[in-house]
Amino acid sequence: MLEIETHPWQAIVLHAERTYPKECCGAMLGHAQGSKKVVTEAVPLANSFLGEQGTRYELRPEDLLAADKAARARGLDLIGIFHSHPDCDAYFSETDLKNSCPWYSFVVVSIKNGAFDHANSFLPDADQTRAEREELICQKS
């Protein structure tokens, strides 16, 4: 189960809406207790995909490394990655799966006509063959 606290949730939605019609991406920091993970901070990161960013995103490993360092420095863990699907449902696409990593929760945010629509969280497997949906609790305000 992944819970995103109000403040980081607002930051994620805002970043996704501002980046529309392009895809946005970022890291989620927090702490994990067993299978329950709580996100207390969201870090917007640059979409470094070279090409049409309306339907693709790419995270620079350096940015992820920096996010991980920042998390550790504050006693937090890097526990997830978020990205948006502009004018498209929040499913885990084939592209998402083939470029995923099984260590993190992947939150997909659907933005339609520039406004938040819905979101889902996924846990991909190590072979990048399937992703399971995980329960997502986010604090809308």
Binding site: R56, Y57, L64, H83, D87, E94, P102, A126
Partner: protein, 478 residues
């Protein structure tokens, strides 16, 4: 000793340790030691062949080992080793994002491109992956579509809702005589597939509107404007500025053409050049004013060239330059263009932040004080007037050459431009019906006459085209 930072999710395999100290002279040794100490972590980092999984990157301090000595990267003993995944994705399926290669057929087809150092295989792959939107499959769209398809642009989106008419064939060379009456989109797509079956054609059978423009254009890399009217031209411009897509512009009239590239990099947009549209009717369209059939061929080929250069990133584009061409004296000229810092759409403090009503902006939205419906006559009502033997004047305000092609018997000809100085030829109290080709110019004639004290003047809606359709099909349409 070097230490390896363990990602959160893998700490279940390292007894919850967030870092593990290892010895070893190289990164390879260090990772081997980690996996022998904590065997369960191995399958998370390595695949069955013992290779690092595709999404795993290893950093020594802040350096990716791929750019050092990979596994053999030496360790002195005080390094921090990080395991960082590669993460990407997106709403599209991977099918459209597979690494591009050229097939043997393509390599042969494009060999004259590939041998150009400025293009090469790399450039040809850029063309293959490029997506170009073409607004209009008419005079300009025809050569642009033909040459972009031949050049190997991977995806061409065409926006058009017209059907092929006999009067198109004199210049719209993507359509043939056999295509008369077909949708232009179908006819153009067939021709493109014939030239190059590798091209994917997306057909948008609609007019471009403020409601659909962003949605249609957002998936394309370059937009080519082949429109013939001001509202759509401003719409294409604003949509391109908002979406940050280059707008390859061309326009044609009679024997003269223009071309440039708007909204590209930091260059100007159409509104920097023309902040306001001309008053309605001042600038005639090709349908009203005529056009040399070859002219759109030349301007369209300039647009296709600029499009290909933008995709390839080569040469100097027409950004900041308006190319002017006159076919009669066969001269090219250039005007320097500048970005307007106060431009309402691309300036420093834009006031147009979303698409507006472009019909209204161009003064084409009918306003409330327009004559009531009973102040107009349609083709059938005009016929009734003739049949009843009404005493009235049928005033034709078209140009003499149009009158030569087709006329309604019993009409008198005074071209709209000559009307102001010929008012004395008309009786201010007579019952007058004005007509032109489609009803636009004659409405202006009606307004002019009313302003000059004429009491009973009405417009014939639909013009001579409607007369040919509804009353007398022997009158040719043009």
């Amino acid at each position: 000793m070097p230490k390896i930072l363990i990602p959160t999710a893998l700490r279940q395999f390292t007894a919850q340790k967030d870092s593990v100290e290892v010895s070893g002279a190289t990164v390879g040794d260090a990772l081997t030691q980690l996996t022998s100490q904590y065997p369960e972590i191995k399958k998370n980092l390595f695949n069955d062949q013992g290779k690092l999984r595709s999404f795993v990157n290893v950093y020594v301090n802040d350096e990716d080992i791929r750019y050092l000595d990979k596994d053999s990267t030496a360790l002195k003993g005080d390094e921090t080793i990080s395991i960082v995944p590669s993460i990407a994705g997106g709403a599209t399926t991977l099918a459209s994002a597979e690494p591009a290669t050229l097939t043997n057929e393509e390599a042969a087809r494009y060999s004259r491109h590939i041998m150009l150092p400025e293009v090469g295989v790399e450039g040809q792959l850029k063309l293959k992956q490029a997506k170009v939107a073409l607004i209009g499959a008419g005079g300009l769209g025809a050569p642009v579509g033909l040459y972009l398809a031949a050049a190997g642009v991977g995806r061409i989106g065409m926006v058009d809702f017209d059907v092929v008419d006999a009067s198109n064939l004199q210049r719209q060379v993507i359509h043939g005589t056999k295509d008369l009456g077909r949708k232009k989109l179908d006819s153009a797509a067939d021709r493109i597939r014939d030239i190059n079956p590798n091209v994917r054609v997306d057909k948008f059978e609609t007019g471009l509107t403020s409601e659909n423009a962003l949605e249609i254009l957002k998936d394309y890399d370059v937009v080519v404007d082949g429109t013939d009217n001001f509202p759509t031209r401003y719409l294409v411009n604003d949509a391109c500025v908002l979406l940050k897509k280059p707008n390859v512009y061309g326009s044609i009239f009679r024997f003269e053409g223009q071309a440039t590239v708007f909204a590209y990099e930091d260059g100007p947009c159409y509104r920097c050049l023309y902040p306001e549209p001309p008053p309605p009717g001042l600038v005639p369209s090709c349908a009203e004013g005529g056009v040399l059939g070859i002219l759109p061929g030349l301007i369209g080929v300039v647009q296709a060239t600029e499009t290909v250069k933008i995709i390839l990133g080569i040469g100097e584009t027409l950004k900041n330059r308006l190319l002017l061409y006159n076919a009669l004296d066969m001269r090219f000229r250039e005007l320097r263009l500048r970005k307007d810092r106060n431009c309402p759409v691309c300036g420093q403090h834009p006031t147009v932040k979303k698409l507006i009503d472009y019909q209204e902006f161009c003064g084409l939205r009918p306003t409330a004080q327009k004559p009531a419906a009973d102040a107009a006559v349609d083709a059938l009502q005009l016929k009734e007037k003739f049949d009843r033997g009404d005493d009235f004047v049928l005033l034709d305000v078209r140009e003499p050459y149009e009158y030569q092609i087709a006329r309604i018997p019993g009409s008198i000809l005074i071209p709209l431009g000559d009307l102001p100085k010929n008012l004395q030829q008309l009786d201010p109290d007579a019952d007058i019906v004005a007509h032109c080709k489609s009803g636009v110019r004659s409405q202006k004639a009606v307004d002019l006459l009313k302003q000059n004290g004429f009491t009973s003047v009405r417009n014939m809606t639909g013009g001579i085209l409607a007369w040919s359709d509804k009353v007398d099909p022997t009158v040719p349409k043009y």
